[in-house]
Subunit: 345 residues, 2 copies
Amino acid sequence: MEIYTIRDIAKKAGVGVSTVSRVLNERPDVSEETRRRVMEVVEACGFVQNRNARNLKNTKPVFGAIIVRGRRNMFLSDVAEEMLHCAQAYKTPFIVKYIDEEDDEFGAMRRLYGERRAAGFILLGSRLDERSEAAAAMGAPMVFATVDAAGSGIANASSVCIDDRAATRAMMDRLVAHGHTCVAIFGGNSEGNDVFTRRYQGAMDSLKAHGISFDPENYVVTRFSLEGSYESAKRFFAAHRDVTAVMAMSDTVAAGVIRALWEMGLRVPQDVSVTGYDGTEMARYFIPSIETVCQPTQMIARESVKLLCEMLEGGERRYVTVNYSLVPGESVAQCAGERGTGDAE
Amino acid sequence: MEIYTIRDIAKKAGVGVSTVSRVLNERPDVSEETRRRVMEVVEACGFVQNRNARNLKNTKPVFGAIIVRGRRNMFLSDVAEEMLHCAQAYKTPFIVKYIDEEDDEFGAMRRLYGERRAAGFILLGSRLDERSEAAAAMGAPMVFATVDAAGSGIANASSVCIDDRAATRAMMDRLVAHGHTCVAIFGGNSEGNDVFTRRYQGAMDSLKAHGISFDPENYVVTRFSLEGSYESAKRFFAAHRDVTAVMAMSDTVAAGVIRALWEMGLRVPQDVSVTGYDGTEMARYFIPSIETVCQPTQMIARESVKLLCEMLEGGERRYVTVNYSLVPGESVAQCAGERGTGDAE
DNA sequence: CTGAAAGCGCTTACAG
DNA sequence: CTGAAAGCGCTTACAG
């Protein structure tokens, strides 16, 4: 298979290279007749533009980059896929970059900016801290997806997210309504103003409203993978048999916890209730199915892409909140009463 | 944050641009003294090479592309991640491109070649048919990962895979050893010489050796997602209550099937045994854990990357077979005896 | 060991 | 509406 350049096409079509370029970029200032002739040659040769050259030359926004933090995170990768899908409606191409849960998304952003001149960024599953400020200094517009940037004050940062605090509050209300008063929370390592903090606060809002106290030891920091949460749960429940419910900050974590409990002889939901977060496919098909907070994948994807494209055209930053919903599951039941620590003795 | 070019660096360091380029590319023909001076400036400016320009100019192999067929396939995405990891040991950068299960990986390959001049390809979860021949005409070396290209005769195609036929045969032997004679197989739509055919043949090898017949109606074509396999299973078991075991061609499919059975009141493994394929994390943590054929992720990744890099340097094509292993799981049990079709009546 | 120059394939003012 | 020319940031022979 031969590789053609725009110059080859120009020659074959008997026009100048600039004309071919115009046709390819769907500019209006080409006669219909010429356009057809050029397109015929393009089709016939199976010509594909060289993006390296295209991106090298262009000064205008050429493409956006989606940075996903967490490789094993099915929810985030679903959202990323959906973003790619939505992006097709815009002229701006998008690329996706996956980085490790523990990696620095702002470093990745900087690199993408330097290496390939990405014009704008969507940060999926990011945090919001000093480094985001530094990254903002690049001047490229960014959209935080699933994280609220409203308080950040960063000039070129928009965000799309659900009200995490309200969602966890509502979820905790459900657990309390089922009689659970001794709950453990499995979440991430809070580094200030991130999604984990919001969710934690929401849970506290609920407990406080119900006059229930929370032992800080019952906040378990875990990796967001099956293996990670499984290990965390094994360790935690070896010492905390009195807990009757777990609120996990992702469905994957919930699944790992359920498996660990199961192996320890604790049934879900009969002995322990477990809730998830995200509303993934897996939550629906796991046994038991996992009660969870559904973040609307499509809506988040669509709004994020739209926002970034707006900003690339000079639009203002905006903070969008989308609606979550509580998805019932088989993983929650009425509290059977205090189990106490008797088992461990 | 300002963006510097190689020319800025050259000026600041008081050298020519070619010298900076040499330092950046770790060429030997630069004096230690000059190298240090240049690197200092590079560090100080936080300079990053523009890959668009780099890839545009270069004629030598610059980067490889990994094309993953199937977005929801956790096994394949794990392998892809591992490949990226292995690739760090080579000078050749790699990029990953995910395409839909139903999409044309060879079209994607062609585009990547035209648009970005990828020098070589790793095809993850691909098939092998007429289109692969056409793609081969591009001349770029390719490595089929998890598919055997040995019989294809394509000049520039290597492959890395397990012996799929032997693996499914061994797995079916286990089911038969547990007394199962009426087995359904959940797999993909065979389009000739692909992995589904191999696995099917392996299963037949076993059944034939045991003098057990197989009703073609018991081969169920399904999408490789939880939802897809769940739906397929619901439909299938509504009419085929006599089946006592399911051999699924992926862990995800196995999970979907288990969930469907569970909802229909059929327990796994008490009523129906189910086996998976791939050896994913999920198989280990699902309830029940899923007995599966483990494909060695790391080995496949490492060998594929190595092979492609070899070929990019002019090496010969090779066909590598790596070892699979059978992972026991809670999803298989002794056949309780024929259930017959009584339930349906 | 080092630098000036050409060129990778495209886009975009600039003149017609 | 169309084409010749300059230039995006880099690499790579080519001369020193």
